[in-house]
Structures are given as C-alpha cells and as structure tokens.
C-alpha cells in the first residue's frame, strides 16, 4: 500500500464529507406532503399529517407506505431486494425512499405539488389584480 492510496482514500472521504455538509446546510425543512412517483409518473400525493397506510399497486409490483406523525416509511414491498423497506423513516424535503425494481420514488414536499392547480390559482390572482386596477 502506497502513500498515494491513503491520500486517495482520504480525498474520497473528504469529498463525501463535504457533500454531506452541503446537503445538510441546504435546509432540512419538514414537508407537508408525500408524493409517490412510479416510472416517472406521479402516482399520488398524500398529506403527511394524517395517519394512513398507502397501498401502491402497479404493473411492477406492490408496495405499502405508512404515514404517521409527519414521517413516512415503507412497510411492505414485494420487490426482490427489499432495500426500500430498510431505508427507514423520512420526513424532510430532501429525503427519499427509492424502490428501484418497482421504479418507485417516495419524496416529501413542502407544498402540494399540483402543477395545474397552482397555475389556476395564480391566474385567478392576476385576474383579480387586473380587476382592482380597472376599478
């Protein structure tokens, strides 16, 4: 083992450490909604403040999510590796649970990520502003 090997190992650990610090400093906001995406399409968005079990049945397989006290965890999955069940509980906006065999991503979001609705709302607001201006 050469000195360069140690330097390389140290560099990788340092890089990983810096990345972790960066991720940590970029905010740890608790989310309000949990979004389930299957094969790049949104499967559903659920509020985090309700205790509930979410059953996800897709062409890839079956998963079961449990939501309680603002945290989400994967309780059941029939994927071959079962990694998703071991990813634990998530509650902050950048945490995810990934079930690769089922192409499933569970992520936490602060606001309800419903593109169409938000657009409508902003449209409505600008409309109102316009009204006020006319008056």
């Amino acid at each position: 083992m050469k000195r360069n090997d140690c330097i390389l190992a140290a560099a990788i650990f340092l890089f990983a450490g810096l990345l972790s610090v960066m991720f940590f400093l970029s905010g740890n906001e608790q989310g309000n909604y949990v979004t389930v995406t299957v094969d790049k399409k949104v499967y559903g968005t659920y509020p985090l403040d309700e205790t509930q079990d979410i059953e996800i049945l897709t062409e890839f397989g079956h998963n079961n999510l449990h939501v309680e006290n603002g945290t989400v965890c994967m309780t059941e999955a029939d994927c071959p590796d079962g990694y998703c069940k071991r990813q634990g509980e998530i509650s902050t906006e950048k945490e995810t649970i990934v079930c690769l065999p089922h192409k499933l991503v569970v992520e936490i979001q602060g606001a309800k990520p419903n593109g169409g609705r938000t657009e409508e709302q902003t449209d409505g607001q600008t409309g109102e502003d316009y009204d006020i201006l006319v008056k």
Binding site: F15, R86, P101, V105, E107
Partner: protein, 174 residues
Amino acid sequence: MNRSDFLSKKISACGLLVALAMIFSYIETLIPINAGLPGMKLGIANLVVVAALYLFGPPEALLISLVRILLVGFLFGSGMSILYSLAGGLVSFLAMVLLKRTQKFSIVGASLFGGAMHNVGQLLVAAAVVENAKIFYYLPPLLCVGCVTGILVGLLALRILPTGQKIMRNAGTL
C-alpha cells in the same frame, strides 16, 4: 510452448476466475450488509477482477468482469439488475485501469477507487431510471461504503497476488 497452447491455457485460467467470481457473487447474496442503500454491497467479486487486472491486464479483467455480470445476472437477477451491475462494473473497471496506468497507486488504491466509482455508476443509472436527482443524496454514504469495501478487497488482493502469480506462472499462463 506455442501460441495456441498459451491461448487455451489463458482461456481456461480466465474461465476458472469467472467461476470463482461467480461463487463470490453468490456468497455476497448470503451476507446482507446493506442498510437499504441501493448498490451497497461487499464487492468481493471485484477481488477477482482486481487480481486479474494486475495478473494479466485490462482485456482479461474486463472479459472476466463482463462474463461474470452477465452470467450472475441471468442466473440470479433480472434485466434491470444486469443493467445496474453493468454500469457499476464498467465504471469501476475504467476507474481501476486509469489508476493502474498512472503507476502512482498500488492495487489497494485501484481497488478503493473502483469500489467508490462502482457506486457512482450504479447511482447514475438509478437516477436515470427514476429521473429523480434527489437520489444523489445517497452519494456521500455510498462513496464512503465503496471506499471502505474497496480497501478491504484491495488488501486481500495484495495478499493473494504473489500466490496468484506463482500459480499462473506454474500453469504457464503468464
């Protein structure tokens, strides 16, 4: 010894190493060390690839790595798991060859860099499959795990390399 003799001996040696790597892959499935992170594993099958890289050279090591991934994938995995292994295997192989070429690192350095890059490769495929960049939050722990397992594999490779060289020389494949 003529060339075709040498070649057939080399081929059988590579076949043996593929078999060994496959056994390691199987043993690996029996040791559940992962904490739920996709791509996290011991990487003992890489021991054979690292050793082959230093015993023979890049072409043989690449051949052994690819054949192992395909065979193990077809035997125990699925189409997607082959894709992940292939990405990890190729990225880690390239990383190790590059490092070996600089001649500034030992087999341990090559192995640890390969281990870390293996996980980077798998993470890239995973991010492409689910099209979600949040998956890169797994990068720091995966880099560390890949580095640690890579060091362990590298130290083992360092120990077995002299014996391997002796065996291969006796068998006339070096």
